[in-house]
Symmetry: C2
Subunit: 239 residues, 2 copies
DNA sequence: TGTCAAAATTGATCAAGGTCAATTTTCGTC
DNA sequence: GACGAAAATTGACCTTGATCAATTTTGACA
């Protein structure tokens, strides 16, 4: 694990531009935005490095600029479960700003070389207490996330492994697209498996079975969705 | 299903007192509180009546005064899954205030005769946009709820049925209590089963097995936790 | 108190997906 | 391009909890 201090880098113009657009910050006036920027920095992460650990004190909230991050939880017995795979443009850890004595409820680990922007939590909190707009934005964000989690519980309890996999694959293509498309997996298959709460072996078998039905084509970490309509049907009339 | 309009009742002093203490409202100044009260009403629900349905437009958020409410989701195929069982004093639906085009993401159905206070959502939203304190309170609430959901996903994916049941039972007694205690189930067993994402048959068998190990005693909807330390151990070194 | 429907229990069986072990494939590094 | 470690695949087998069907129990209400 590399020492994170060595990776702290200043914010350049491109980064500034990007975070200015970030939903969590765009309602800030320029003075407040400047204050946030003062207290923020970018961070380069090599593959497989720990950004923060479950249970450690929350100091920053993050915006992923490039790469990929998995958020995972540790069971008492050592098992790990990937809760979410963060893609560029997403913010994370903002939901933990309040509760839980301000500790991160998950661990964040890069799955590819990544760059994140760390936003100083305390500063952000201070601005929150002063800006109603900012509060409302964050409220909407959390509300949306909560809704997503309710759906996730649905998927876990009401649907089987095949459903979850197909649903996951379909979430990578536009709602209305009907043509065969390549989906390239953003993480190693065993991470995807954990995200979907199935074992790598089962993921492998399930993919193979879909391929045998001519619904998809397998080519390493690239998966071609052949018969999107049938896939959609599969998840819509799911057992 | 009874016509809900006939059950709309005015807020009396006792109710006013209670909702004044409610976390979601206590940071309001008295003028704003009065405005909310103007737009709120209590509602009596017989057992097994629908308060609101998944997908219907969100008009009110609720505080349960007495009784019990289950929040459940409907799968496309008709299966139902109880997400949460609401107890008196809890508010619900507030997390849906923002996202999802303002539709309820779950259905709410009484499991015993219940009384709820309906708080007019639009009014509350309006006050939210005017009060930073109120926003921060709600933020904390949502953040806490989100944290709870993450734990729920943990339980569903990292732990088996016995764990979830024991964990549920233990959540009904004080953290530090060690003496045998009666836990009385707040809902019919099949509702508890759905809440725990197991089948009624499995719940029955699992309870019996715990009883056979002399960890609990069964007596209808009353369950006596005999050996609390062993139960705690069971969930702490869980598979 | 008797009746009836819903809830709970019990037994028998089954299937999805997990586990374990053995290969094979992939990929980063020299 | 060769090497080695990690990832992925495959096969054999097993466990958990679901399903189906048959009773038994409970509880509301006449």
């Amino acid at each position: 694990m590399k020492n994170s201090k060595t990776d702290r880098i200043a914010l350049n113009g491109f980064i500034l531009n990007t975070i200015r657009q970030c939903p969590l910050l765009q309602s800030l006036n320029s003075q407040d935005f400047d204050e946030i920027v003062q207290q923020s920095h970018a961070k380069q992460l090599p593959e497989n490095s720990v950004l923060f650990e479950q249970g450690s004190p929350l100091t920053d909230i993050y915006l992923l600029m490039s790469g990929g991050i998995k958020l995972q939880r540790l069971a008492p017995n050592g098992d790990e479960k990937v809760i979410e795979i963060i893609r560029p443009g997403q913010t994370f850890a903002e939901a933990a700003l309040f509760s839980g004595g301000s500790c991160y409820p998950v661990s964040a680990i890069s799955i590819t070389p990544s760059m994140v922007v760390a936003i100083h939590a305390e500063t952000y909190l201070k601005l929150l207490t002063g800006s109603n707009d900012l509060c409302l934005t964050l409220l909407a964000k959390l509300s949306q996330k909560l809704h997503w989690m309710v759906n996730e519980v649905d998927r876990l309890t009401l649907h089987n492994a095949t459903f979850r996999l197909v649903d996951y694959l379909l979430s990578h293509i536009p709602e209305n697209s009907n043509d065969r498309t390549d989906v390239s997996l953003v993480a190693p298959k065993h991470v995807i498996a954990s995200r979907l709460s199935i074992k790598p072996e089962t993921l492998s078998r399930t993919l193979k079975s879909l391929a045998k039905q001519n619904l998809i084509n397998l080519d390493g970490s690239k998966i071609e969705l052949i018969d999107i309509n049938s896939l959609r049907q599969l998840v819509s009339l799911e057992t």
